[in-house]
Amino acid sequence: MARKVKGRATRRSFLMTTGAASAVAVAGCLGGEGPDDDEFVITLSQFPDTVDPIDHITGDYFDVFDHVYEPLFDVQPGEEPETRVVEDWEHGDGAVELRLRDDVQFHDGQDLTAEDVAFTLERQIDPEVGPASSQVAGLGSIEGAEAVDDSTVRFEYSGAPALAEYEFGNYARAMSREWTDDQESAESGEIVGNSADVFNGTGPYEVVDFTPDTEIVLEPFDDYWGDEPPFDRLVFNADEESSGRVAALETGESDLTINVLPEDVQTVQDTEDAEVRTVTSFRNIFCPMKNEAEPFDSREFRQAMNYAVDNAGIIDDVLSGFGEPMSQPVPPGVNGYNPDLDPYPYDPDEAASLVEESGYGGAEIELVAPQGRYLNDADVAQTVADQIDQLENVSCDVDVVDFGVVSDANSAGMDDYEIPFFMIGWGVITGDTDYGVSGFFQEGGGVQTFRDEELDQAIEESKGIDDPEEREQQLQAVNELAREKAPWIFLHLQESIYGVRQDVQWEPREDETIWAWEMSQ
């Protein structure tokens, strides 16, 4: 079972890797055998509306596709990457070389080659390599990929080496080049279809039945290189309503369901053989204040907004306790998180006097917030706006809109001030502070909502640091600076609530990934 892990070997990484490896070993032994592990049904909130595994970054989609198109690494935020298809890797100058296992097969019987991995990545970077993928924006610092030989892929990488595995782990998968070329629809230039034949990965499960919009049925892939996964049949379906997902659990139609609303927790608890499991997610909810629009150009004013909002109260009342207050742009567990920082306390008096100090007493502002995107989002926004409104020298309205409007405001950058103050969420899926701050606080960051030279510089500096510990310190400084400058109202981290059959051994992951091979019954 032992796996060779190469890379930056620190003491911490050694401990983590062995820990993780043995956990997998245990899980592997428990799964794969026993007569009871027949069918397992997972109910998502959104059924994948594409069959292309690298078309969208959407958690629910990855939950399905990872089983078919397995990721190259398993990267858990805050832990060392665990190898999967990649056997080991070496950092070089501006590039990383990954060596692939030589016993990996696609479901259609072809052997996996380095060429396939490079192609899958190129598809997401180079628009000339079809079928088009819409993921081009999200690939961070990966600049290109090429096959060195049959089992070695070289990734051109411009970011800090410490980020590389996170990004590879999130974005790199393997699709067969030859097969993909055959699949590409001549008309739409995408992979489309509605049968089991439109999937071909190297994952532990293969698709045996696919009903678009309804259900996808997987069975273990006989020639999988790794351990035989649990469950003879793995089924994914979806229900948009939390109450519906919970009802499916109640009636036994489902064995695991995601995104249970706090309101439905009781129903799960009342179900005889089901229970609720929670984990604090990496999805961070906050309100950016574009600092080139009045009154948000005043640091005092922005800080006042943070003092005016009763974070802990909102978590208790609006989220029924399922949340964690935030003190900085990134959540605990993320590399660079600064443990010495506390959330802004709720202090309306301090807020009011800071507003006076800012010179914007009597300001009228409006918070624009989405509905149905995050846990009780519109309700959180109404409470935030009302608490600000309760300051005697600020009046705040709320406008609840379609998520698209908020998303547009977010990606409009610093040139657009039509909506300077809004509520949005961001998951630091790479597990590194960089992903949580550079997009928002740096020039050309894509979703820039804050312009500040000092902060920009601090982030830029962190990118050039090779030494992990030194870099971590710099990122902690970035977080401290960000708290101080208050570019956002820091709200909370969402808690992910799952409804699960009691006899399933599985702990929810912070990154909200659901992998059946981590379960056993």
């Binding site: 509306d49 594409t50 292309d52 078309d55 628009p127 000339e128 088009a132 819409s134 081009v136 924006a137 629809s185 008309e187 739409s188 230039g189 995408e190 992979i191 489309v192 509605n194 678009p212 919009d213 309804t214 229900d239 948009e240 309503e241 109450s243 519906g244 997902r245 919970v246 009802a247 499916a248 009636t251 139609e253 149905g372 379609d402 998520f403 698209g404 998303s407 547009d408 990606s411 894509g446 979703v447």
Partner: protein, 329 residues
């Protein structure tokens, strides 16, 4: 004018209306803000990729070429590709039709089963308690928003009393029937039935109320006509007259009104499906709307428009064969 000629004329009008619907939807899409390429690949996407996507979806063509392409596609049943999923819109529409159809038919059946007897009783016991009861019921029925009614039914019958399941239905009618035919077990059918009852009542209530009203007033009109007295004088049993002749004459205007109210039925289905997570066209329309998936939205709405026109032509034809005077109007 003969029936055939009348039908041809109605069909031509229908084609015009469908063209109008397509054009309205195309115009709405053309004036809607936002670069479609953003909707497909996201704002931050690489310019080359956006270009490529624009190319693929034909978004670089002049607007009249896009319009001509779209029209041409509709004629041969090609509604284009969804922005979100890249799937063919017509497939995404068709696969959702059965669920909506099941719901609409179930609602109509419930409505007719309840409303016609209720209207008849109401009319024949005019100004008695039963009549007042029926009148109040129909007043409430046409005044209650169906999404609220649906939630109240869930609250009382599913949550409090546990009589019905909540949540998305696990099987469709076709699957349930196939299972019954191949295995002989009706469990699937029972599950399907349990899931459809509340949504069908929710959607059907407005029509129940409406048909009750129409049946009542229609019956009252008919009962006042001389032929009723005449047949009664011939010694035919009163009940027979009531149900055979009077009711038949009453049904004709009801059918017409129902044809006209088809839009209400479809609109009601959209919102009922949302309340009950019913996997029909309305549910998909709301998803498409939230994602600004214009081709899908367009496809669903155009499909609804076509069905609406076709059903109205059928209703007209039925009506014309029952009452030939219509043709000359």
């Amino acid at each position: 004018m003969a029936l055939g000629k009348f039908l041809v004329k109605r069909l031509l009008q229908g084609v015009f209306v469908v063209w109008g619907v397509v054009t309205v939807m195309f115009t709405l899409r053309a004036v809607s803000p936002g670069d479609p390429a953003n909707l497909i690949v996201g704002e931050a996407a690489d310019p080359h990729l956006r270009e490529q996507v624009r190319e693929q979806y034909g978004l670089n063509e002049p607007i009249y070429v896009q319009y001509a392409d779209y029209l041409q596609g509709i004629v041969v049943g090609d509604f284009g590709y969804s922005f979100q999923s890249g799937r063919q819109v017509e497939a995404m529409v068709i696969e959702r039709v059965p669920a909506t159809l099941e719901l609409a038919i179930a609602a109509t059946i419930i409505a007719i089963l309840i409303a016609v007897p209720l209207g008849v009783i109401s009319a024949s016991r005019r100004n008695e308690p039963a009549d007042y009861g029926a009148t109040m019921f129909s007043l409430l029925g046409i005044s209650t928003p169906n999404f609220w009614l649906g939630l109240m039914l869930i609250l009382l019958l599913a949550v409090q009393l546990g009589l019905f399941p909540t949540g998305r239905r696990p099987v469709g009618l076709a699957e349930a029937l196939t299972a019954l035919a191949t295995t002989g077990y009706a469990t699937g059918l029972v599950v399907w039935l349990k899931h459809i009852i509340l949504p069908a009542i929710t959607l059907g209530t407005y029509f129940t109320a409406l048909i009750t009203r129409l049946t009542r007033s229609g019956m009252l009109d008919e009962l006042g006509k001389p032929y009723v007295d005449a047949t009664e004088a011939k010694g035919l049993p009163a009940a027979l007259i009531r149900y055979k002749h009077v009711l038949r004459n009453t049904m004709i205007p009801i059918v017409t009104v129902l044809g006209l109210q088809l839009g209400t039925l479809i609109g009601g289905a959209v919102i009922t499906e949302t309340v009950f997570s019913w996997p029909g066209l309305g549910d998909r329309l709301i998803q498409a709307l939230n994602a600004r998936d214009w081709p899908l939205m367009q496809g669903i709405i155009v499909f609804i428009g076509i069905s609406f026109v076709l059903i109205n032509i059928v209703v007209d034809a039925l009506y014309a064969s029952l009452d030939p005077r219509v043709i000359d109007e």
